[in-house]
């Protein structure tokens, strides 16, 4: 099967298909027309041979009939009968005379013989070459015409014979045979065919076989199927022929009119050739037309393709020129509009790219100047943990030049004991994408080029991009900080030990003073003046206050050391519980404490408890002279923080001294008015600050005070 070249260009395909179609149509029409013409030619020829055959068959038997009559007349002649009866001895002259009567005109082509019943030739006159070789078969009683016979190869003859009968009985006693030579010559043929026309062959021959003649010479006869007659047929006889045979009445002969089939169909073939020429011209013109149409379609397409290719390769000014108003022209103008839009957006994009590139360069320069001048080490690594960036700070810190480390593993910067953890960390992050160190600051140790270890603080970030994952670390050498921290820790520990000692050592003598003062009063009170008893009371009172002071100081210093244990704290419940205790502590004095619903906070429950306790105690203390004493605990949201407040309608304070409220031992009221050590609010401030919150107060003298503190929400 032929694979059609579908991938050919339209310019080739369209004319090809159109021409093929045209050719097919023309061929079909040509074939049909030729069949018609051929059929008509054959029909005409058939009519012609039928007509001619009929004419000749009517014409030809006349000669034979005459000859039969002549022969019969001769046989019935009494002289001839006498001649036969006598065995040729008598009446020869008679016979001659009778013979002359019938054969005067055809003498050269004629022979007449008389035979007796015993097969003896009694008489022979005329052309002796026609003489019979043997006694002819006994004829029937009437005169008979024989089939043609070939004599001496080129001679064609036939006999007409009639029986000689006994005058009385009618018994056959002999016969008269007239042998006639058929006149074969060009002239004879032309005479006969002149009537029919030069293209026609006329044939005469035996109905049951050879020989046949065309009247000029002996020719092979037509095949048996052509000799059936009735309808014109085609057959082979030295070429394809078309003809019709008919028997000649009164003879065993047949006549045939024959046309050469080639000659017969020559005009149709000529017609076909002419038509084919015209068809070829039509196909050629059609193909040219199709080619022209396809060119008209494909030329603009070619231009569009070329222009599109030019645009694709960057020549945005490219335009196409397709004149007219048809679809192609519209396509061309649409293309031009599109090209214009492409150019515009390309220019706008280039402008943006240039702008962004500029901004990016500036940002990069800024970033570079930061990283280049930073004291911190800034190091980047790829997903395999190999160093890809190394700033001067890093070179200074670790002692390696940039060229020493780029492409080498990060582990070279770590002491042995961290290396395995580091590899596992990277592996785990690459597998789970779950950061453990990322986004936080961790303290580790680094190793310098000389092998010395130093403490460092690392902030790590990871970035994923198409190029893969990369890590960036900012490393700060915290050797100095660690040293200061250590020193601070030692100082704190010393202070702590000192405060313990103080607390212990101060309490014991204080207890002794108090105890022995009581003993003095109890055991020897009777011996004392009232003034002595009063002085003992003053000692008693002051030792109590001193004890309280020491206890408060201890709990204040303890706050600095205690670890924060943060958890979710239900502030509403906590404040309610404390308010209950404060109410109990107030005894009979009614306290109106309002507690709004408070959001939960995140913090150390014990510490928050102490802070709230101190604030409520404070509020209760300073509302002592108010009736009713009103205290309100509420909150308001402030971003991720919650602002809690404790508001009272108590003695308030002079806002000029608001900043002093939270200092240790700071008191804004005289001890006779409101007792206290001046540590409670300092404790509140310390607790809130340790929770990362703020604390402040608002108030007016004799117009109440409000204490605020902030805490992170429970979910933060």
């Amino acid at each position: 099967m032929i694979r059609l070249p579908w991938n050919w260009s339209i310019e080739r395909k369209l004319p090809l298909f159109f021409s093929a179609l045209l050719l097919a149509v023309v061929l079909v029409m040509l074939g049909a027309a030729y069949q018609q013409v051929r059929y008509a030619a054959l029909l005409l020829a058939a009519e012609r041979v039928q007509r001619l055959t009929k004419v000749y068959v009517d014409l030809l038997p006349r000669g034979a009939t005459t000859q039969r009559t002549q022969t019969a007349t001769l046989a019935a002649d009494p002289g001839v009968r006498e001649f036969v009866t006598s065995g040729g001895r008598r009446g020869r002259d008679w016979v001659l005379a009778a013979m002359r009567r019938i054969a005067h005109d055809t003498a050269p082509n004629l022979a007449i013989e008389v035979w007796d019943s015993e097969g003896q030739r009694l008489f022979l006159r005329g052309d002796t070459t026609l003489r019979s070789d043997a006694a002819p078969a006994l004829p029937s009683d009437s005169a008979l015409v024989s089939p043609y016979r070939v004599r001496h190869d080129t001679l064609l003859s036939y006999e007409v014979q009639a029986a000689v009968r006994q005058a009385t009985e009618g018994r056959v006693i002999g016969r008269v045979v007239q042998i006639r030579r058929v006149n074969l010559s060009k002239q004879a043929r032309e005479t006969l065919t002149g009537i029919a026309g030069g293209d026609v062959s006329l044939l005469i021959g035996n109905a049951d076989g050879e020989p046949w003649t065309d009247l000029e010479r002996i020719v092979p006869g037509p095949p048996a199927e052509a000799r059936v007659g009735r309808v014109p047929t085609s057959y082979e006889r030295g070429g394809t022929k078309f003809g019709l045979a008919a028997p000649i009445p009164g003879t065993p002969w047949m006549f045939m009119t024959e046309l050469s089939r080639q000659q017969l169909l020559a005009p149709s073939l000529a017609y076909l050739r002419r038509m084919a020429l015209i068809a070829a011209a039509i196909v050629l013109v059609g193909a040219l037309g199709a080619w022209w149409v396809s060119r008209r379609i494909t030329t603009p397409l070619h231009r569009l393709t070329t222009a599109a290719a030019a645009i694709a390769s960057g020549d945005l000014a490219q335009r196409v020129d397709v004149p007219g108003t048809d679809e192609m022209a519209r396509l061309g103008s649409s293309f031009n509009v599109m090209a214009g839009e492409v150019k515009k957006s390309r220019e706008s994009l280039e402008g943006q790219v240039a702008e962004r590139t500029q901004a990016l360069r500036a940002s990069e320069a800024r970033l570079r100047s930061v990283t280049e001048t930073a004291h911190d080490a800034i190091i980047a690594a790829d997903g395999d943990g190999n160093i890809s960036y190394w700033n001067p700070g890093a070179a200074h810190m670790f002692g390696y030049a940039e060229g020493d480390v780029l492409g080498r593993p990060l582990t070279m910067l770590m002491p042995e004991r961290y290396q395995e953890d580091h590899r596992r960390g990277i592996q785990r992050y690459l597998e789970t994408a779950e950061p453990r160190v990322l986004g936080r600051t961790v303290e580790l140790h680094g190793r310098r080029k000389d092998g010395a270890e130093f403490p460092l603080e690392l902030s790590l970030a990871a970035a994923r991009s198409e190029a893969g994952i990369s890590f960036t670390g900012v490393i700060r050498d915290i050797t100095e900080r660690k040293r200061i921290e250590q020193a601070l820790k030692e100082t704190n520990a010393e202070l702590e030990a000192f405060s313990y000692s103080v607390s212990h050592d101060l309490r014991a003598p204080l207890r002794a003073i108090h105890g022995f003062a009581r003993i003095l009063l109890e055991d020897h009170g009777t011996q004392l003046e009232p003034e002595g008893k009063r002085v003992l009371g003053v000692i008693d009172e002051n030792t109590r206050r001193m004890g309280q002071l020491i206890d408060d100081l201890l709990s204040f210093s303890r706050l600095g050391r205690k670890e924060l244990e943060t958890a979710r704290v239900d502030m509403t419940e906590l404040v309610r519980t404390i308010a209950e205790e404060v109410r109990r502590g107030a005894g009979d004095r009614p306290l109106d404490i309002t507690i709004g619903p408070l959001p939960p906070a995140r913090g150390d429950r014990d510490m928050l408890r102490q802070a709230v306790m101190n604030l409520l105690d404070n509020a209760a203390k300073f509302t002592r002279r108010r009736t009713p004493a009103q205290i309100e605990v509420g909150h308001r949201a402030d971003g991720p923080e919650t602002v809690y407040y404790v508001k009272d309608n108590g003695a308030g304070f002079d806002p000029r001294y608001a900043g002093k409220l939270f200092g240790v031992f700071q008191r804004l009221h005289r001890a006779e008015e409101f007792e206290g050590t001046g540590v409670g609010l300092a404790i509140v401030q310390r607790i809130v600050l340790r929770h990362g919150g703020r604390v402040w107060a608002e108030g007016q003298l004799d117009a109440g005070a409000t204490f605020f503190f902030t805490l992170r929400g429970a979910d933060a």
Partner: protein, 147 residues
């Protein structure tokens, strides 16, 4: 009620004022009859584990309760506590820690070593006397030690 020479309470206290005040508090509840005072940790250990040179050291003298200060000269109170609770002979004696230091780590350590109570000595004499006498009363009269 008590047999002669039977030590009911052993007070280990280096501060003579505190010792006197303690004794006075116990006396107010009539619990001071058989109180013996050790003035430092070494003396307390001598009392129990010494070679017999101690004045009141007698076989079979076992106090019903020990009141133990933590901050002691020579041998620290916690060390005394540890030794007492290590010995089979002494580990069942209730030990009440009396101290001026209300410190969580000390309290936790004392209980871990087997202290039975932990009392912070108040500065206020009445409160102190009440605490001491309550403890004495509890451990001497109300608590039933295993036989």
């Amino acid at each position: 009620m008590t047999q002669p020479h039977e030590v009911e309470i052993l007070l280990v206290e280096d501060n003579p004022s505190d010792a006197e005040l303690t004794l006075r508090a116990l006396k107010q509840r009539n619990l001071a009859n058989q109180v013996f005072v050790c003035h430092d940790g070494a003396e307390a250990l001598e009392f129990f584990f010494g070679d017999g040179s101690h004045a009141l050291r007698e076989i079979g003298v076992v106090p019903k309760v020990i009141l133990l200060d933590l901050k002691l000269p020579k041998v620290d109170g916690l060390e005394v506590l540890r030794r007492l609770k290590e010995e089979d002979r002494t580990k069942r004696i209730p030990v009440v820690v009396l101290t001026s230091r209300p410190e969580e780590p000390d309290i936790a350590r004392a209980y871990r070593l087997g202290a039975n109570s932990y009392i912070v000595k108040p500065v206020d004499f009445e409160a102190f006397a009440r605490a001491v006498s309550d403890v004495g009363l509890y451990w001497l009269l109300l608590n039933h030690p295993p036989r």
